[in-house]
């Protein structure tokens, strides 16, 4: 049965989704998604261990061997990403019950979980597959369900936010497909490993250059790098809290994984970084993203919107790490995928707690939150520190590798800019902390914490933020191995 795990990783949530439709019961749907998420998490851990012990795992769907058939291919990088996605999903679904009951209409809850499971399996599929066209299929599965879930938000603006995302997301996915089509026409294969072997012969053709352009712009739209980010702030702000937390922790991260996979493994760094000024383009866009989005975040009045802009800045850090094309930069990118998933996931979950108790996530409405909801407020502080990159939190580890990467690359001024932009993060986190702790709310001073079923999953994430800030052998160690492996392929 162990050999069947790669398929089960995707198939279990994929089957659970229609099961929720048939059963039509919100309690069961919630339970199913919790059980499925935890099962997926266990499977991903076993797979990661197998990969660490035995190396690459290849699974032929339908028994049709690669490169003709669809191959699921696990290496150290994507098995690590799978652990992140399914781990976050386990925590989010354990947290979800009360929050979803509060934010979603009762008769639609089973459909909400159906959409959630589809999105979950789509993201797992994007990560696990070794087939370029299959990536597109799973992009569509995860995106279509995420549009529907964003539109389920309580605020009516959620619908227009979802529509904007739908238009932008479809353009992104279509660009990706056009790029894959061009690669197929030039090489006659869709299997990523096979593509990596055949592409060097046709590196000099215009078609491959155009295909690279289409694919990278399509993915950059999906991962919301400045200036292709316009869909994201509204989508995160008006989506239900659970969806914001899951999307911010996983969806853009999987798109980043696809960027690493296509940039380093499929096209190869010789093509991407040596032939064309990709590094300079990506790095300058990332710097703009970090600076501009951090500044915009400072001026937000809605905390979820503030966090959304902060996410855009963090995506900038990750893409910057990718653009360095060296071991420390790539390690920083991969470990920040993990660390940012923890801290931003925790922050959005905390916002869900605030929403259910206070009924609003505007800065003006959380006066004195430190007294009213001590646990939630403290969780916000700790995760906020991790966003800034304070030592002893997970965020520090990624910033550290990023600065090392910038120095290795010889881009000294960047290292200084990186440290200065952390101050911008400090400003927007401080705005929230100040209102929570240093202003009191005379109207309702009584303590009223969110339900335990929400606070406990929140604190699991917060505890991990601290743990992985101190003990880095799992997160940074694996990221480092993955980066070595990815760079090794392309040499």
């Amino acid at each position: 049965m162990l050999s069947q795990l790669p398929a089960l990783q995707v198939v279990i949530p994929l089957i659970a989704a229609p099961l929720c439709v048939v059963l039509r019961n919100k309690e069961i749907a919630c339970l199913v998604s919790q059980v499925v998420s935890i099962l997926s998490f266990l499977i991903s851990l076993i797979l990661l261990q197998q990969v660490l012990q035995e190396g690459i795992i290849s699974y032929a769907l339908g028994g049709w061997l690669a490169p003709v058939g669809i191959e699921y291919r696990l290496d150290i990088l994507n098995s690590f990403i799978l652990v992140i996605i399914s781990g976050i999903s386990s925590i989010v679904t354990l947290y979800s019950k009360k929050s979803v009951n509060f934010e979603i209409e009762s008769e639609k809850i089973y459909l909400f979980y159906t959409g959630y499971l589809l999105m979950f399996s789509g993201l797992l599929g994007m990560t696990i597959t070794g087939d370029a066209f299959n990536v597109f299929v799973f992009i569509e599965i995860s995106s279509l369900s995420s549009y529907a879930m964003i539109a389920m938000g309580k605020d009516r603006r959620a619908v227009s936010a979802a529509f904007t995302y739908l238009v932008m997301g479809t353009v992104g996915a279509t660009f990706f497909l056009i790029g894959v089509g061009l690669m197929y026409s030039m090489t006659g294969t869709l299997n990523m490993a096979d593509l990596a072997e055949r592409l060097p012969k046709v590196y000099d053709t215009k078609a491959i250059l155009v295909s690279f352009a289409f694919i990278s712009i399509g993915i950059l739209l999906k991962l919301a790098l400045f200036p292709l980010h316009l869909w994201l702030p509204n989508a995160y702000t008006y989506a239900p809290s659970v969806v914001s937390a899951f999307l911010s922790a996983t969806a853009t991260k999987v798109a980043i994984y696809i960027l690493i996979r296509f940039g380093y493994s499929v096209f190869g760094s010789d093509f991407v970084f040596s032939k064309y000024p990709t590094a300079e383009i990506l790095a300058s866009l990332s710097i703009i993203a970090i600076v501009v989005c951090s500044i915009v975040a400072i001026f937000q009045t809605n905390i979820k919107r503030l966090l959304a802009f902060s996410s855009l800045a963090q995506v900038g850090y990750i893409v910057l790490g990718i653009s360095f094309n060296n071991i420390n930069g790539l390690t920083a990118a991969i470990v920040h995928i993990f660390n940012h998933a923890l801290s931003k996931g925790a922050l959005f979950l905390a916002m869900g707690c605030v929403a259910i108790v206070i009924g609003s996530v505007k800065i003006k409405d959380i006066n004195g939150l430190g007294k009213k909801m001590p646990f939630t407020a403290f969780a916000i502080v700790i995760s906020g520190l991790s966003l800034i990159g304070v030592p002893l939190t997970a965020g520090f580890i990624s910033k550290w590798y990023l600065v090392l990467g910038a120095i290795d690359k010889g881009w000294w001024p960047l290292a200084i800019i990186l440290l200065l932009t952390s101050l911008l993060a400090l400003v927007y986190v401080w705005r929230v902390v100040e209102v929570m702790y240093f202003r009191s709310d005379p109207n309702s001073p009584e303590v009223k914490e969110a339900p335990l079923s929400m606070v406990i999953p929140l604190y699991i994430l917060v505890a991990m933020t601290i743990y992985f800030g101190i003990e880095t052998s799992f997160s940074a160690g694996l990221a480092n191995e993955a980066a070595e492996y990815i760079l090794g392929i392309s040499e």
């Binding site: 069947q4 398929a7 198939v11 089957i15 229609p18 048939v22 769907l61 028994g63």
Partner: protein, 138 residues
């Protein structure tokens, strides 16, 4: 449409034929052009024609919305279920060869089952889309 006799009569004559043709496309799919998707669309179109001519309520009494919604899921579950069964029989996901004594026969059975799943889901989705648009004012 109550007073338009000609469309009503023609629809009554045509719908059984359309459904029959849909089934032909469905079951002939593994030998010739066709398959679950096309068959699902044809059968869905027949149902929608019935709804257009005889009214939404008449169609809803033939195909209740709840059942159609479940059919979307059941078609998909049939598809994925075939995959799970092949896994239980010791092969990879959707490796049809193990479904019968000879691999060739197994491929036939697998394809037919999977295509039936596709057909059910596509037909049900077509009908649900029609319900969504036609029922907007209600």
């Amino acid at each position: 449409m109550k007073h338009h006799t000609i469309p009503r009569v023609i629809a009554k004559l045509a719908i059984p034929g359309i459904i029959l043709f849909g089934l032909y496309v469905q079951f002939h799919g593994d030998y010739g052009p066709g398959g679950g998707f096309q068959a699902g669309v044809i059968i869905g179109a027949a149902m929608i024609l019935y709804g257009l001519i005889f009214g939404l309520d008449a169609l809803k009494s033939v195909a209740p919305q709840k059942i159609v919604t479940s059919l979307i899921a059941l078609g998909f579950l049939l598809y994925a279920g075939v995959g799970i069964v092949t896994q239980l029989l010791g092969a990879n996901f959707l490796e049809y060869g193990v479904l019968a004594h000879s691999p060739k026969e197994g491929q036939h059975i697998g394809i037919i089952l999977v295509e039936i799943g596709v057909g059910i889901t596509v037909a049900a989705v077509m009908i649900i889309i029609f319900y969504m648009f036609a029922g907007r004012k209600q």
